[in-house]
Amino acid sequence: MSSIPSPIPVLSPLRMQRHPRVVVVLTVVLLFAGGGLMMHAESQIQVLGLLAAFLVTFAIADRTPLGQEIAAMCGDYGGFANGVAFVCALGLIAVFHGEHYTLLVLATVALFSTACIALNLQLAFAGMANFAGAAFFVLGSYTAAVLTAYSWIPHPLILIVSGLVTGAIGVILLLPVLRTRGHYAALVTIAFGLLLRSLLEVNDTLGGPQGMKIKGFSVFGLDFNRMSSIGSWDVSFYLPYAVLSISIFAVAFTLIRCIERSWIGIALDTVRCDETAASVFGLSIARWKVVAFLIGNAVIGVAGALYGMMNGFVTPNGSGLGDSLLMLSIIVLGGLGNFWGAVVAAMVILVIPEKLQAIQEFRLLIFALLVLAILLFRPSGILPRPTRDLSRFIGPPGADA
């Protein structure tokens, strides 16, 4: 390793090896700073510049030995890196404490990334194609709308209940096609997504095409929507939403990571790769498909609920097939099975088109072509799924990732 030449003398490999945690911190901070700038940027030139910078960074990480080593270091110290990432996200929120739009974007990216991690659980781990991701997301919002309007359930509990309701509906949908081949389940999810959207638009019980209003989140008397200052600082009312969003992301991330790095994760992979072998070795295919679908949709429902509460309303728009495909595009682009890849891809697919007015119209077309290119030429996406290495868990306690 020490024989790798380094273009930047101060980043000599030996120095890096001696202070791996410093390297990790610097890398994560740099990435988040770039992301924050991207979310905050207003001029198209800034956005294009940042995009170029990211592409260069990615090329370095992918192609040069130095970049690969830094990437490997971040992987080895994965738990530490994740912790630093959480702190950086909080830092971004602190830096942009008064910026409505930036915080809204941050919260949106966090919530959609949460939903995409759940899709990863279903698709990348359990091999189940869910073409109704956006429908389940909107279902979570509608559940929150109904519960905030017609019940006195405390709002944190409403998030959980929305998740459970969404998860349950998903399982009911799945039951008939559990023992059949994948494309039947795919068809059922496509049909469900279209059904939900049509029903919500045609029927006025839940507001019809205008949708429903949703009360803002409040807990212990603290109403998020009324927050305008913390101490002597003026803050945007989106700040508490941003904090809650990244917390939900962190919880979902940890939950699904834990599932992957456990016996359940191995069971899911086996069911995905080879149902014949899985059944011969005693694994119930139906059970594991239900578990993945249930947990995945429940997480999507929670994210959707908070998203609805943050925006103050929900409409059938955003639950269509195109939107579900967009979510699947995010995880394919980011790399099936890679959670941070999904975050990066969410930034690309959600944020950039908002900033670059010129390509707004062509958004769907460009992303469709991008996904096609990825599927044909680099199917593992931007970041490949890290190989599960359970040896990390054996040894002194605290070596947990």
Binding site: F131, T180, G182, L187, L328, E361, L365, V371, L372, L376
Partner: protein, 306 residues
């Protein structure tokens, strides 16, 4: 109820059924030869509709053509371009990806469908809105009691039925059809027997896509209006028809197509709800029918070496 209205509904239902059947046959063909679901198929219908609009409009713009020739050029354009699109997608996307996990092909063809849709929306002037389709068929109506139907409608229906029948005959009576059935049963063995696998597969794609494109043309002539979104719904219902009828068979998708059309028509006639719910019923029917017949009315043939 006025018998005239009933017959009207019946006619509509038959029309829908033929359209669904034509699209469903394509899905079944693709699945038969390559074991893949080609989700861009619905959007090929849209391509066909807009191609025929373009050709008929173009031809009509350059020279004052009698409607018959405009119609012919429209149909020719639709079928050719539709078949071409089907073959290109097959060659560039489906064939290279057929060994990857099935969900990759699903996703890829869904994206390809999106590309087609968006290309039409962006490429055609004012593409985001419904476009009127010229009336190229002879006017006039047939009357029988209180029931009247346009001659053009009858012509369209007959054309559709003939095409479906023709495809069935092609698959069962010609050498090409035999090659398709051979490849559908066992690609490896067919290859070993000297059949040009790729040519047959692409030929099947061309056939299915041409049918779908023609259906698009028919839709334009019947409803006098087309829009860039029309393929999404039709693709889903066509796929569902093929699944419920039985993927891989010829008869299954046809039965499935008429079944869906029948359900849609019946519910709208029998229940006092507005026709705005037509789509909702269709999707609900899909979910229920798949729940009841998970492997199709005519079971999918599938074997895996253990």
């Amino acid at each position: 109820m006025d018998p005239g209205i009933i017959v009207q509904y019946l006619f509509n239902g038959l029309m829908l059924g033929v359209i669904y059947a034509m699209i469903a046959v394509g899905f079944s063909l693709f699945f038969g030869v390559l074991d893949v679901i080609k989700f861009s198929h619905g959007d090929v219908v849209t391509v066909g509709a807009f191609s025929s609009l373009g050709a008929a409009g173009l031809a009509g713009g350059l020279v004052t053509l009698p409607p018959v020739l405009a119609l012919a050029s429209g149909i020719a354009a639709a079928v050719t371009i539709g078949a071409l699109v089907g073959v290109i997608i097959g060659r560039v996307l489906v064939l290279p990806l057929r060994h990857a996990p099935g969900v990759n092909v699903l996703l890829a063809t869904l994206m390809a469908g999106t590309v087609l849709r968006e290309a039409i929306r962006l490429g055609v002037p004012n593409g985001g809105n419904p476009k009127p389709f010229p009336a190229l068929l002879p006017g006039g109506t047939i009357k029988a009691g209180s029931f009247s139907v346009g001659i053009d409608s009858v012509m369209i229906l007959v054309a559709g039925l003939l095409l479906v029948l023709g495809t069935h005959l092609l698959i069962t009576r010609t050498r090409f059809g035999l090659a398709i059935r051979a490849v559908a049963q066992d690609g490896e063995v067919a290859r070993l027997s000297g059949i040009d696998f790729q040519a047959v597969v692409l030929g099947a794609f061309a056939l299915g896509s041409a049918l779908a494109a023609f259906a698009g043309c028919m839709l334009g002539l019947y409803y006098h209006e087309i829009n860039f979104n029309m393929g999404v719904l039709l693709g889903v219902i066509g796929f569902a028809s093929a699944v419920v009828g039985g993927l891989g068979s010829m008869l299954g998708p046809i039965i499935g197509g008429f079944l869906f059309a029948g359900v849609q028509t019946l519910v709208v006639v029998a229940l006092p709800i507005s026709s705005a719910y037509k789509d909702v019923i269709a999707f609900a029917a899909i979910i229920i029918l798949i729940a009841v017949f998970p492997t199709g009315l005519i079971a999918e043939r599938r074997s895996e070496r253990v």
